[in-house]
């Protein structure tokens, strides 16, 4: 599965639920297929997506989704024990793992060598793993009513979708729309 295919499915699953999206090619590809007020793409804050998602999930009652990447998660790996300690049951973190910093000249990430899902499991987090759209749908659906935070690691193909333009959005507008969406 390509990243953009995974993003399309995740966008459909989460509908208008808050969705925090990691930076670089992930935010660009999502914006190329779907822009919603409920989307909060981080344009330049690698490693911060899951912490922001945790904060949002603690502040609202409904389901909150995070789309992180293996590279971004590795940059802020200390969030994993925090998720276990505090992670609310309404938070679903989907990690699109291509074993690569695809937005950084396609450099391999350490996830190509180490089992980051295994590390999350070792911390006691609930972890699901898959590599297809159908399995991903089913895993996310199975977490409805879960009693703890969910982490779903999805193996995706390496590389980026060609021809996607830079996403030149205005952060204050993105956050104002997001806040409006939360309050609506």
């Amino acid at each position: 599965m390509k990243r953009i295919e995974a993003l399309e499915v995740i966008d459909q699953i989460f509908g208008n639920d808050p969705l925090i999206i990691t930076c670089g090619a992930t935010a660009r590809e999502m914006a190329s297929i779907s822009k919603k007020k409920s989307h909060l793409p981080l344009l330049d804050s690698m490693g911060l997506t899951t912490p922001v998602g945790l904060g949002v999930a603690l502040g609202v009652k409904g389901r909150v989704g995070v789309i992180d990447g293996d590279g971004s998660l590795l940059m802020g790996f200390s969030i994993l024990p925090t998720l276990k300690a505090y992670g609310p049951k309404n938070l679903v973190v989907v990690v699109l793992d291509n074993g690569q910093h695809a937005s950084a000249d396609l450099m391999l990430s350490q996830a190509s060598e180490v089992d980051i899902a295994g590390a999350a499991k070792g911390l006691g987090l609930w972890v699901g793993q898959c590599d297809s759209a159908e399995e991903m749908k089913s895993l996310i659906a199975s977490r409805t009513g879960a009693d703890e935070v969910s982490m779903i690691f999805v193996k995706i193909e390496k590389g980026n979708t060609p021809g996607i333009p830079f996403y030149l959005a205005n952060p204050p507008k993105l956050s104002a729309d997001f806040v409006e969406s939360i309050n609506s």
Binding site: L43, G55, L58, G76, A85
Partner: protein, 180 residues
């Protein structure tokens, strides 16, 4: 530090807690610190929901998310952690207009026992101002009443202006003999 000085220091930290409860704080995110411990323990005793973060940028992310949901949230940390937090503040909290106060105890001043912490702590006000973060100060020469009212006012300002605002507060290490 003598008993009287310890009481004076603690009365200011108690005033900081009271200022935050006056404001109506709902959440705080903290990074452990012995200097800030009386504030952290005070807020926990007051029943304020909290998250302990492992790094300062993580705290900025969590607090930003909470602030965007409309929660009244503050970060409690030590100023030598701002090196970790700068990118998160500059690329997310500030541009995405997440309004919350950060209260950070200062290190590296009179009575400091660590030989290198001043190398980051002395530079923090300039570093923060350089990225557009407003910095306020609370010192041991300010009365507890000033600490309490300033704390509330700074927290309100951060929310109204939709931006993180830092207050650097002086506190003496609870376990050391020091100059005052």
């Amino acid at each position: 530090m003598g008993c009287a000085e310890m009481r004076e220091s603690n009365s200011r930290l108690t005033a900081l807690v009271e200022g935050l409860t006056d404001w109506g704080i709902e959440y705080f995110v903290y990074v452990p610190s012995s200097h800030s411990a009386p504030v952290i323990r005070g807020l926990i005793s007051a029943g304020v929901s909290n998250v302990m973060a492992n790094r300062e940028e993580e705290a900025v992310g969590i607090a930003s998310g909470l602030a965007l949901t409309g929660k009244k949230v503050a970060i409690i940390m030590q100023d030598n952690g701002f090196g970790n937090a700068l990118t998160a503040l500059a690329t997310f909290a500030q541009p995405y207009q997440a309004g919350f106060p950060i209260f950070a105890n200062t290190r590296g001043g009179l009575g400091e026992y660590n030989s290198m912490v001043h190398s980051i702590s002395d530079s923090n006000p300039d570093l923060l101002k350089k990225i557009g973060i407003r910095v306020e100060d609370l010192g041991i020469s300010d009365s507890p009443e000033v600490w309490r009212s300033s704390t509330q006012a700074v927290a309100q300002m951060a929310v109204i202006q939709r931006r993180p605002v830092v207050t650097l507060f002086e506190s003496l290490h609870p376990g050391m003999e020091t100059i005052k």
